[in-house]
């Protein structure tokens, strides 16, 4: 390995962190930063897929999204935004002091960053717990199999007897056999295929109907029984919550990974690895951390705030 001759003509300062494939620290650091940025572009596209899904369904069912959003707690969301912003600041400062080669300040700011990161996750946990209690957490609440909680469900009578697959109402669609009597008289019970996600408040959709600003998909998607069908509306709200949980869940996962990176960084910094000549791990971790912050900057208004004005501003216009 060490047979190669670059030591002979290596006139660069040979820092401790220099890896064998590089000629000098400049090259190594530039590689790291381009690499990190490429990685972030990759992350943008990863979250971007989710944002596309969000965009499609938000444009289809804006009222359901507003209703779901109003159910989120903007206080916690806002608090978390601030927490993340502070952690971004401390991270930026940690990088700065690494650049200046100040070990102690660097360590302090990394620790602060980790603390705020943890607070963020703690708040997230509080929110998730709340949602769990309200029965809108994926799998546990959104999708509990029907039988157990059927009684709490508006259409529960019918759901409780179902085994799940055999009586999907789509079956009756144009099959030409024996359907008109499977749905008993009068009250139409809408079959919720995936269980009890309880959601009865469809007032926003009613409001939008009066205001005349329902989208085409909503006109078809919310109505039944001559009026708003809370169950059908609920399914769209449920889509919102799924998107909420997937997006915030992936974000939280990134935070957790970030904390892992921070822990490693802390150890390195503690050992005094970084200096004014070699600090790119700190810088790169900082880029990652700020990126995660940016994702949240968008998630906060798009998930927590998008329907507030309906509550406060009255009925549209």
């Amino acid at each position: 390995m060490a047979t190669h001759a670059d030591a002979l003509h290596d006139h660069h300062y040979h820092a401790p962190g220099l890896q064998h494939q590089f000629e000098d620290m400049g090259q190594q650091q530039e590689s790291a930063s381009i690499g990190m940025w490429m990685f972030l572009v990759q992350e943008i596209m990863f979250f971007g897929g989710m944002f596309t899904v969000y965009l499609v369904f938000r444009s289809k069912y804006p009222m359901a999204f507003a209703a779901g959003s109003n159910h989120l707690d903007a206080f916690w969301g806002g608090l978390n935004t601030l927490v993340l912003i502070v952690s971004s600041l401390t991270m930026a400062l940690a990088v700065r002091y690494a650049q200046l080669g100040k070990r102690n300040l660097q360590v302090i700011f990394i620790i602060l960053t980790m603390i705020f990161g943890t607070v963020f996750l703690g708040v997230k946990a509080i929110e998730y717990t709340k949602k769990y209690k309200e029965g809108i957490v994926p799998v546990a609440g959104l999708n509990m199999r029907t039988a157990k909680t059927a009684s709490t469900h508006p259409g529960g009578r019918e759901l409780s007897t179902r085994t799940g697959d055999t009586q999907d109402p789509r079956e009756s669609l144009n099959t030409g056999v024996s359907e008109s009597n499977t749905h008993e008289t009068g009250e139409h019970s809408y079959y919720n295929p995936t269980g009890t996600f309880v959601w009865t408040d469809a007032s926003l959709a009613a409001q939008a109907q009066q205001g005349g600003y329902l989208t085409d998909s909503e006109k078809i998607g919310y109505f039944s029984n001559g009026e708003l069908n809370a169950n059908k509306f609920r399914d769209k709200v449920r889509i919102f919550f799924w998107i909420y949980f997937v997006m915030t869940g992936l974000h939280a996962l990134h935070m957790i990974i970030g904390l892992g990176v921070m822990a490693w960084l802390l150890w390195k910094a503690w050992m005094g690895t970084f200096s004014a000549a070699y600090y790119s791990p700190v810088e790169m971790s900082g880029l990652y951390w700020h990126f995660v912050d940016i994702v949240w900057i968008f998630l906060f208004p798009l998930l927590y705030l998008l329907g507030r004005h309906f509550l406060h501003g009255g009925a549209g216009h």
Binding site: E23, M25, G26, Q27, Q29, E30, S33, I34, W37, L40, V41, I44, M45, G48, G49, F51, T52, L55, V56, S59, K60, A74, G78, T81, L82, I85, V86, S88, L89, A92, L93, R96, Q99, L100, R170, L173, Y213, T215, D216, S217, G221, D235, G286, H290, D293, I294, I297, F298, F300, P301, L302, L305, L306, R308, H309, F310, H312, G313, G316, H317
Partner: protein, 118 residues
């Protein structure tokens, strides 16, 4: 070619002349902007702006978010002091995102809702 032989790294990196130390004031400035932006976002969301056009609230929220993002990217992430390549990379990421949005929505916005079950 008899041109000057230069190393690849020399020819396109400007970074190691400057370990750019950003003055503290920038960081705290951005921090202030972010906090104000967050508060602004919150209160703007409470006001009903639909009288301008439907979705005005979201647009405003996004504008603030983009501004905040700009600050973080440029200052916290040091892009302002980085090479053209980094600029390009950052922009390209969002450009591709825009492609995905635009080309997906061109389908959804030009076809009818068409959903009748459910």
């Amino acid at each position: 070619m008899a041109e000057r032989i230069k190393t690849a790294t020399e020819s396109e990196s400007h970074h190691h002349e400057e370990h750019h130390i950003v003055p503290l004031i920038y960081y705290f400035g951005v921090f202030g902007v972010l906090v104000v932006g967050t508060i602004l976002t919150y209160y703007a969301a409470l006001v009903d702006l639909d009288w301008i056009f439907p979705g005005a609230n979201t647009l405003l929220a996004l504008l603030i978010a983009f501004f905040k993002m700009g600050c973080v990217v440029l200052i916290f992430m040091h892009v302002w002091w980085s090479s053209r390549l980094i600029w390009l990379t950052a922009i390209a990421g969002f450009f591709w995102l825009a492609i995905m949005f635009a080309f997906t929505m061109q389908d959804y916005l030009t076809r009818g809702a068409g959903v009748f079950t459910g």
